[in-house]
């Protein structure tokens, strides 16, 4: 037995002991019933939730370096005054709209990752999110999402409703290219409306195969999403609140799912950033707090890891439209019952901007993925990420 395999099983066994019963049983059944690779899949009893901040969130106004005079020089209009910031240390603090996250920070269940990015950054939304979704190098084009590759190497248990639920976006992101990803708009209605078409397997075009595969994924997930579960947790209004509600309902109804990907749209703040980012951050914070409550009610909080991500951060120097243009490295959050809260990475080097006026990365985004793969699921990350990336010490033992 190789080293990676042993490590996975250790983590999987650990998960089995501590997971709530339902998830653990699902994991164990899947592990026994499947092909050899899948015997290690008990690790997927631990849930990963990805939250995409679509458009490219401004990291500097998410975690404000309020003691750095360079910050206020670069942000004469958009700079957030020191006394408005929610302090996390004597040097930096959260955007005021993120105040609801302070309770998690105090419980040390919120890790703040500073300067997440990658070398030779691309400033196109579409190319950069493709780099993030496929976990490629900046100059490399990969056809599949990083989670699709993960699940191809180590499939989640067969009785899971799906490999992943996608909520709030029609784009499959890291689950693109083959994962059993189910896009859900409404968990309750999904089950009711599933088709009864009985398609005969026949050779056809790739588009037809895609439709038939989607249909069979629907049928499988719908069988579980029909289970009726009522949650006491109150979810906020708005698109992101609805996505969080849908996520909690789907997680509650499913026998299992390895990944949930949520999307919060609108962070591309080229103009009038201040009110837009404040509104989005309030939606994000309220939604995350409700997500924590819902998962706690489901007794899943201790086996959930939530990670935020985005294609890039924004340019340190504000533009004349009261906004910021596309940038590079940014701040991201890791939340969970087992997360070791605190600040990670490095403060933004505002004195050492690139020729384009952008920030250098302190944490490679693939290190965040390696952390999820190795320290959360107990999988080897080398094959999926095409190289060895240092993991972050953001998980408690």
């Amino acid at each position: 037995m190789n080293e990676e395999r042993r490590r996975f099983i250790r983590a999987g066994a650990h998960a089995l002991v501590t997971m709530p019963i339902a998830g653990a049983i699902a994991g164990a059944i899947g592990g026994c019933a499947s092909a050899p690779a899948a015997t290690t899949s008990a690790g997927y009893a631990r849930l990963l939730i990805l939250v995409e901040l679509k458009g490219g969130n401004d990291g500097l106004n998410t975690l404000v370096p309020f003691t750095d005079p360079a910050y206020y020089r670069l942000r004469p209009k958009l700079g957030i005054a020191r006394d408005a910031v929610v302090p996390l240390s004597d040097r930096c603090g959260l955007h005021p709209a993120l105040q609801p996250l302070l309770a998690l920070w105090k419980r040390q269940e919120l890790a703040v990752l500073q300067g997440v990015g990658y070398p030779a950054p691309n400033l196109s939304h579409f190319r950069s999110i493709e780099i993030w979704d496929t976990a490629s190098r900046s100059d490399q084009y990969l056809p599949t999402g990083w989670l699709t590759r993960t699940f191809a190497a180590t499939p989640p248990p067969r009785d899971y409703a799906a490999d992943g639920f996608v909520i709030g976006s029609y784009d499959l992101g890291p689950l693109d290219g083959g994962a059993r990803a189910v896009t859900i708009a409404d968990a309750a209605r999904f089950g009711d409306r599933a088709p009864s078409t009985n398609a005969l397997a026949r050779a056809g075009t790739p588009a037809l195969e895609h439709i038939l595969r989607t249909e069979s994924d629907i049928v499988r997930a719908a069988a579980q999403l029909r289970n009726n579960v009522t949650l006491a947790t109150r979810f906020p209004e708005g698109a992101f609140g609805n996505a969080v509600r849908t996520a909690c309902n789907a997680i509650a109804r499913a026998k299992g799912v390895a990944v949930v990907r949520l999307t919060l749209n609108g962070y591309d703040t080229h103009a009038d950033q201040a009110p837009t980012q404040a509104r989005l951050h309030a939606e994000l914070a309220d939604g995350l707090v409700a997500l924590v409550q819902g998962l706690t009610e489901l007794r899943r909080w201790d086996d959930t890891l939530i990670l935020t991500y985005a294609e890039f951060g924004r340019r340190p120097r504000e533009n004349l439209s009261g906004g910021t243009d596309h940038g590079t490295a940014s701040v991201h959050f890791a939340l969970g019952g087992r997360v070791a809260g605190g600040l990670y990475g490095a403060e933004p080097g505002l004195a050492r901007l690139s020729v384009d006026g952008n920030l250098a990365p302190a944490i490679d985004f693939r290190s965040v993925y390696a952390t999820a793969l190795e320290r959360w699921w107990g999988l080897d990350s080398h094959g999926v990420l095409g190289g060895r990336f240092e993991t972050l010490p953001i998980m408690r033992a």
């Binding site: 939304h125 078409t197 056809g204 075009t205 037809l208 103009a271 004349l320 906004g323």
Partner: protein, 490 residues
């Protein structure tokens, strides 16, 4: 009333068998000489363009109409049967309109009253009233456009208007003014099949676009790069064919434009324009907007990028690089006449080839409008139809971002497939009435195989279609055929 087009042979849709190569062959020959036909096909494909004189059979005629419009009626397919490819394509391109036949909402014309323009002194209630009016207007506009798609005698115009809406993807969610969205839609329709260079220049100064990509905020001293980046990445060159410095320099050239909210017109303010020297893609000069756009239009990558995208819209998900290069050459030589590129694409062997049939997924608008057109149904109020396309992932006038809709296979995911089937189930519930309406006009097919020819690009895969065929009950047959997964394809 039965129709008399050739009925299904053993493999009318065989993925390697081109019906066009054996049209006019007696059915028994089709049955028995398929291998021979394949050989002929192989020989024929070596004679470039010789196929322009091929005559269309029913499946070919349907293919052309579905791919260049929304789904046709039986009568429309019949009218094209027997023409050569070249005749059919040229007739199609000769008949395109550049204006709508359905009257647009009254508020789309004329000036806006001063009290209707948002201003800083407005009360919260006044703002709310304006917001509600805008919401109602944009819903009305969506319904109007779908009504035009359903009614137009020039469906290719609407398909190209949609194509340009997706290419220059602009969302009312940021523009916030339905009048400006209408004006942009009218521009896309006017140049739908006109000239791409003209269109690009007009789009760059289009008020909705100036708001959408912050051109109206881009001024000398601290340029806003939003439009400059997207015009290179998404509208002309494609990613990888420019550098960040080109974006920054072009952004300077684009400075100085704004939008007069009262008139809904773009305005140029010379004092906010940077008239200094810029270097864009190696070209040096004191470029203004027109100059910078001409630099982009002079690059060969622009024609290639556009033809590649048109190929994915009309031919197949996998462009043939050699053919794209040939057609892009013609497109460029024509100074971007859109019909030149389309004519080449529609006369290409790949367009007619059997292996490319059923390879494209219908967009939500194509699915719903096509269903209504094929059955010749007018629902009156089209706003519920707009809501249906929204559930399928296509909110007209509100693409997800500046890249437009991902399209292709990405139209189909578990949510959108459920929404598509729900629409088709609803649309076919009223089938007995609809069917009577169609059949009393004559020319309606009645047998299952005939409906499959009209509605599907490949043989049906669901056993419901087989079961329905045994019943020979038209409403059941149509419903089963439209609910077959193959109906999602074109």
């Amino acid at each position: 009333m039965r129709c008399d087009w050739p009925l299904a042979s053993a493999s009318p849709h065989s993925p390697v068998f081109d019906p066009a190569t054996m049209m006019r062959s007696p059915p028994f020959i089709r049955h028995f000489v398929e291998p021979l036909a394949l050989l002929v096909l192989a020989l024929a494909s070596s004679l470039a363009q010789a196929d322009a004189t091929q005559r269309l059979d029913f499946d070919d005629a349907r293919h052309l109409l579905v791919r260049t419009g929304f789904a046709p009626t039986v009568a429309q397919v019949r009218a094209l049967e027997g023409r050569t490819r070249e005749e059919a394509v040229d007739a199609l391109l000769a008949q395109t309109r550049s204006d709508p036949i359905v009257p647009s909402p009254a508020w789309t014309t004329g000036a806006t009253a001063p009290e209707d323009i948002p201003h800083p002194g407005m009360s919260a209630d006044e703002r709310k009233v304006l917001r509600q009016r805008e919401r109602a207007r944009i819903e009305e506009l969506r319904g109007w456009w779908l009504a035009e798609m359903r009614a137009t005698p020039s469906p290719l115009t609407e398909r190209m208007t949609l194509f340009w809406h997706d290419h220059f993807a602009t969302s009312e969610q940021k523009v916030g003014d339905a009048r400006l969205m209408y004006a942009q839609n009218a521009l896309f329709r006017r140049e739908a099949l006109g000239n791409f260079a003209t269109l690009l220049h007009a789009v760059a100064k289009d008020p909705a676009m100036l708001i959408w990509l912050d051109g109206a905020r881009n001024r000398r001293g601290a340029p806003n790069e939003n439009f400059a980046r997207e015009v290179m990445e998404l509208f002309t060159l494609g990613e990888g064919h420019y550098a960040q410095s080109d974006v920054a320099q072009a952004a300077r050239a684009f400075t100085g434009f704004g939008v007069d909210r009262a008139t809904g017109q773009a305005v140029f303010r010379p004092r906010l324009h940077d008239d200094g020297v810029k270097t864009i893609l190696g070209a040096r000069g004191d470029f203004d907007m027109n100059g910078a756009l001409d630099v982009l239009l002079a690059r060969p990558e622009t024609a290639t990028f556009l033809v590649d995208k048109l190929w994915r819209e009309f031919v197949s998900p996998q462009p043939d690089a050699g053919e794209v290069a040939r057609i892009a050459g013609d497109f460029r030589a024509s100074h971007y006449a859109i019909k030149v590129a389309l004519r080449d694409l529609l006369l290409s062997d790949a367009f007619w080839g059997a292996r490319n049939r059923g390879t494209l997924v219908k967009s939500p608008a194509e699915l719903v409008v096509g269903t209504l057109r094929t059955l010749d149904v007018d629902p009156g109020d089209m706003r519920p139809i707009a809501a249906a396309t929204a559930r399928m992932g296509e909110v007209l006038f509100a693409p997800p971002n500046v890249r437009g809709w991902p399209g292709g296979d990405a139209w189909i995911n578990s949510s959108t497939l459920l929404a598509r089937q729900a629409f088709l189930a609803r649309a076919t519930r009223a089938m007995p009435d609809t069917f009577m309406a169609v059949s009393t006009r004559g020319g309606s097919p009645s047998a299952s195989a005939e409906w499959q020819h009209l509605l599907l690009p490949l043989p049906a895969v669901s056993d419901a279609v087989t079961e329905a065929a045994a019943e020979r009950e038209p409403a059941v047959v149509i419903r089963a055929t439209m609910l077959d997964p193959v109906y999602q394809l074109k």
